[in-house]
């Protein structure tokens, strides 16, 4: 226990200590900036947390560079955006019946009727209180669960089992995201395949480059993800707006805000918040299942357990509590597979992993939570697990972001109603230009920009053909890890062709992967 406390202490102090050993407040400042940007982005219909994270990452890397010292400010800002956006999305949902982020859609069901009854302030404060409480709850679960899972994985799983675990995660994502599991999995394999361009593990020169020397260093990771996630969606939105051939209508005036939420009312919300946060945390810990599922499940549960189920949809605050606590709890829990296994489960987690892969020499995975005894060797250095210190530093910044959300977030939410007036038909082209510029700047020229454009076309085709984007992106990110594991497992088995199914654990995982896919295909056929 002493060792754990020592690492926690080192993690906390490392956030505030600069390279020279002096006080450094930049990470804290970036957390504050991130939360504020996140709340603004969340409250702007058409934008979302992952969108802002995608554009912010290249800008942050340009500002702070690629050294280990850059990791805290960059991650602090990204975590802040992720957390702020979950809170901000409720504002336009409540005031104008327009969800700021997709996961705030269910908040409109009861939030907007509350606002129309003259209880706008109460609805916003309910959303803020539930959202931040849900987020805090899932963070606490993350802090406890991630190290436990990681230690367990490190003890039990070897190379073949870790390979099988990644395959199982991909199959799970393909099965649960979207309605096309087979195509989702093909997309995941394609994502993995594309990420191999320009790489080599055997020292025989870069592979799959078509002889283009610029591809010899591999594809620029951030630009490619920016293209497939952000640019493709922007293109689709621009096309849809063009085809709709109608102007964005000016939203009505904000309704009467009404009285504040009392502390007594907050107290009565706690059981509902706890239920919603538990559902959100459980859903969020599974890769691929998004906030919408968590919010829907939580809303349905709250409605079924209510003594007045008919009041749901008519402005019942418990409806807002259920959706906001659940969808915010997903964000912390989503980092459980990221921190403990190195497997991202949603788009926000993708950008956290991307930042870590781009900057410094820290990497997520079970090895992070090795509690190496701290020993000081005279005249040399201190022996410790620096990754673990970094992980506790990240946890510290999450707590800081929660504190900013509690304080500034609540104040800011009441002022954001006007953001709904930003015209989407102007904002989307602006985002497109900003994204292309970010790709050029981050990846040193036209290679980055053209990669972003190429991946935007891939993303556009995937979306239009109803192939889920998430397995493609996760496959793209995890391919190097999986290749290393598979090659290692094969070599360690002495060249056994059945190297992946020799271990009972990996056999079970692979069987589960096949079962998941077969079941989903059958279910979809029956639907």
């Amino acid at each position: 226990m002493d060792l754990v406390l020592q690492y926690i202490g080192l993690g906390v102090t490392s956030v505030f200590t600069g390279a020279e050993g002096g006080l450094w407040l930049m990470p804290l400042a970036m957390v504050v900036v991130g939360v504020l940007v996140g709340i603004l982005v969340g409250a702007t219909p058409g934008l979302s947390g992952p969108f802002a994270m995608a554009i912010a990452l290249p800008v942050l890397v340009s500002i702070f560079g690629y050294s280990n010292e850059a990791l805290y400010p960059v991650l602090g800002c990204l975590v802040g955006i992720m957390k702020g956006a979950t809170v901000g999305g409720a504002v336009p949902a409540i005031l104008f019946n327009t969800p700021g982020t997709p996961d705030a859609f269910l908040t409109t069901l009861d939030g907007n009727p509350m606002a129309r009854k003259g209880l706008g302030r109460k609805a916003i404060q309910t959303a803020h209180f539930s959202s931040v409480m849900g987020d805090n709850f899932s963070d606490i679960v993350l802090f406890v669960a991630a190290p436990i899972i990681a230690v367990g994985v490190e003890r039990v799983l070897g190379l073949p089992e870790k390979s099988a675990l990644i395959i199982l995660s991909l199959c799970f994502m393909a099965a649960v995201v979207g309605g096309a599991p087979l195509k989702g999995l093909i997309g995941g394999l394609l994502g993995m395949f594309v990420s191999l361009v320009g790489s080599t593990l055997s020292g025989n020169g870069p592979r799959l480059t078509f002889g283009i020397p610029e591809l010899g260093g591999g594809l620029p990771l951030t630009s490619c993800v920016l293209g497939v996630l952000v640019l493709s969606e922007v293109l689709i939105s621009i096309e849809d707006m063009r085809n709709e051939r109608r102007r964005q209508t000016t939203p009505p005036e904000a309704p009467e805000m009404g009285p504040k939420l009392t502390w007594g009312e907050r107290g009565r919300m706690l059981p509902g918040i706890l239920r919603g946060a538990t559902i959100g945390t459980l859903i969020g810990a599974l890769p691929g299942i998004g906030t919408t599922t968590a919010a829907t499940l939580s809303y349905d549960t709250a409605k079924r357990r209510s003594k007045e189920p008919e009041s749901f949809g008519q402005g019942n605050p418990q409806g807002v509590v259920a959706t906001e606590s659940a969808n915010s709890a997903v964000s912390g829990a989503n980092l459980i597979p990221v921190m403990s296994l190195g497997i991202p489960g949603n788009f926000a987690a993708v950008f956290i992993i991307l930042a870590v892969e781009t900057i410094g020499d820290f990497a997520f995975g079970p090895q992070v939570f090795r509690f190496t005894p701290i020993r000081e060797i005279e005249g040399f250095d201190t022996i410790l697990n620096k990754d673990l210190v970094m992980a506790f530093g990240l946890f510290t910044m999450m707590v800081m972001a929660n504190a900013v959300n509690w304080t500034v977030g609540g104040f800011l939410m009441g002022l954001l109603g006007y953001l709904v007036r930003i015209p989407k038909d102007v904002m989307l082209p602006v985002i497109l230009t900003v994204s292309l510029t970010a790709a050029y700047v981050q990846d040193g020229g036209y290679l980055g920009l053209l990669s972003a454009c190429g991946f935007a076309l891939i993303g556009y085709a995937l979306r239009r053909l109803d192939i889920s984007i998430l397995p493609f992106v996760i496959g793209f990110l995890l391919a190097p890890t999986l290749e290393g594991l598979v090659r290692g497992a094969y070599t360690a088995s002495g060249g056994d062709a059945l190297f992946l199914v020799k271990s009972p654990i990996s056999l079970v995982m692979l069987a589960l992967s096949v079962f998941l896919l077969v079941r989903m295909v059958r279910q979809a056929r029956r639907a």
């Binding site: 947390g49 992952p50 969108f51 340009s62 500002i63 997709p102 995201v177 979207g178 096309a180 087979l182 195509k183 999995l185 394999l189 993995m192 395949f193 080599t200 593990l201 055997s202 592979r207 799959l208 996630l229 293109l235 621009i238 707006m241 063009r242 998004g290 906030t291 949603n346 788009f347 038909d425 102007v426 989307l428 082209p429 602006v430 497109l432 230009t433 292309l436 510029t437 050029y440 700047v441 040193g444 020229g445 036209y446 920009l449 556009y460 979306r463 239009r464 053909l465 109803d466 984007i469 998430l470 391919a479 290749e483 598979v486 090659r487 094969y490 070599t491 060249g495 295909v521 056929r525």
Partner: protein
């Protein structure tokens, strides 16, 4: 950003063919990879002997596994479509129509023209200032680190790009829209060129 695939109106009727084409396309892709691309573009084979004489995976090991896994999935997709007739065969079906392709072509054209303008504006400005006798420089490369030359291409090209897409969404372009586009580009110049030292705006990193 939605975490679900975008629902398209054009999906179901006869759209099942897209899944069929997708399955067949994947099979063709796998064949091209295994028979043509990999042998020519991967330096080592499926397995190779390392310095200690041990047989270890080569660079083609993982790509072949990936493409090999695509084959049964693609076959499943094809058979499920053929067996299901016009039904969806269990998989959601999307569609890429001619209109979609036209839109993409238009978008590619906008981006290409804007990038060309970014590339040409700087040299054009140098030619103009040389002609007017305001400067005497050998070419754009010589002043590509000097303001306003270094930001001129990005300003004009960026404004054009944003304005072009605003016109696409609105079907019209008001002076206010051009102003927004110019201001956005100016803010980007301020951030990347003014506040940061180690980055270069387009096209300066590729001169």
């Amino acid at each position: 950003m939605s975490e679900r695939p975008v629902e398209t109106d054009a999906a179901p009727q006869g759209g099942g063919r897209w899944n069929l084409w997708l399955g067949l396309g994947t099979l063709v892709f796998a064949a091209v990879c295994l028979l043509i691309w990999f042998p020519r573009d991967i330096g080592s084979g499926f397995l190779q002997t390392n310095l200690t004489g041990r047989l270890v995976p080569g660079d083609a090991f993982f790509p072949i596994l990936l493409v090999g896994l695509m084959v049964p999935l693609a076959l499943l997709l094809v058979f499920s479509q053929l067996r299901g007739g016009t039904a969806r065969g269990g998989e959601a079906v999307g569609d890429i129509s001619g209109a979609n392709l036209l839109f993409l072509l238009r978008a590619i054209l906008f981006v290409t023209v804007s990038l060309l303008v970014m590339n040409w504006t700087g040299p054009a400005l140098v030619w103009l200032t040389n002609t007017l006798g305001l400067t005497e420089v050998s070419g754009y490369r010589a002043v590509s680190g000097t303001f306003p030359f270094r930001a001129s291409g990005f300003f004009v090209g960026g404004t054009l790009l944003t304005s072009g897409f605003i016109h696409t969404t609105r079907h019209e372009l008001r002076p206010r829209d051009i102003l927004v586009a110019a201001l956005t580009t100016a803010v980007l110049i301020l951030i990347f060129d003014g506040l940061l030292d180690n980055v270069q705006l387009p096209p300066n990193a590729d001169l």
